[in-house]
Symmetry: C2
Subunit: 147 residues, 2 copies
Amino acid sequence: MATAVAVTISDAEWRVMRIVWTLKQTDSRTIINLLAQQHDWKPATIKTLIGRLVKKGALATTKQGRQFIYTPLIPEQNAMDTALTNELDQMCAMHRGTAIAHVLEQTEMSKADVQQLIDVLAKKLPTAPDTVHCDCLPGDCEGSCES
Amino acid sequence: MATAVAVTISDAEWRVMRIVWTLKQTDSRTIINLLAQQHDWKPATIKTLIGRLVKKGALATTKQGRQFIYTPLIPEQNAMDTALTNELDQMCAMHRGTAIAHVLEQTEMSKADVQQLIDVLAKKLPTAPDTVHCDCLPGDCEGSCES
DNA sequence: AGTTACAGTTTACAATTGTAATCGGTCGGT
DNA sequence: ACCGACCGATTACAATTGTAAACTGTAACT
């Protein structure tokens, strides 16, 4: 593990990454064209985002003639996992399950995905603890941890 | 629906909210004491966070003598759902399922929660579409959308 | 060879966030 | 009646982020 420090990608930057992840590799012209359609961002704005992503180490550049070809340096699934995990980790451990349940209800997923999730959960069931305690208060959470 | 605009709570603010959510109502002294244990935040820092949360409409204040009693104005579960949904929504629709799977594998949950999730998913299975397409590129994603 | 056009870099600037000191008012104690 | 402790408000300041203009270099076209 070398580049483990986990680059953080901001919301706007995330849009750029999705383009590059999907196309695997592109030039800035393409990114700018595609993004200018979805949002009404000026080319300059998108250039800034690309530049920041390169500086952050999220995108690699390969010089090709006068321009660059951009490639993702961090895998999409990896970024997704990290982002979701970070979000979840800052929440009360006791309530995470319910939050995920609500999100699942509202997320459209393919049959295969739903089945995959069921499998993962089925595998978890036997080893799952009976209770997971609230970790919102410091120390041993003296008494006040109910609900 | 009146206050629907959905306050955004920053990471540091989230810590404060968790205290208030767990205690249901408290004064700043308590919040400061508890948080100063978990992080090494100066009391002034925590006061700032509380102030911002009040201004944002995330905390209500009730004057009690010289001080205030703080109460959550937005429900915890609600904030959790919104935060997770926002995060997910900015990701490629096609890959959300897998991302959730990875997160599930790493999240500790009670047996009851795991079972609840299984139930939710079982109910989703019949109506789940066969495929969910990538929505990373604009327009009709002309051809270039493969895995 | 000169100019255009575009790629990438630099600079800009306001809003949000993390982190905190200081100020001003008041309640409680001496 | 005065002082101190403490609460909440005001001010501060750097980093990150959203948004974008301006600058610079060079490849391509005339």
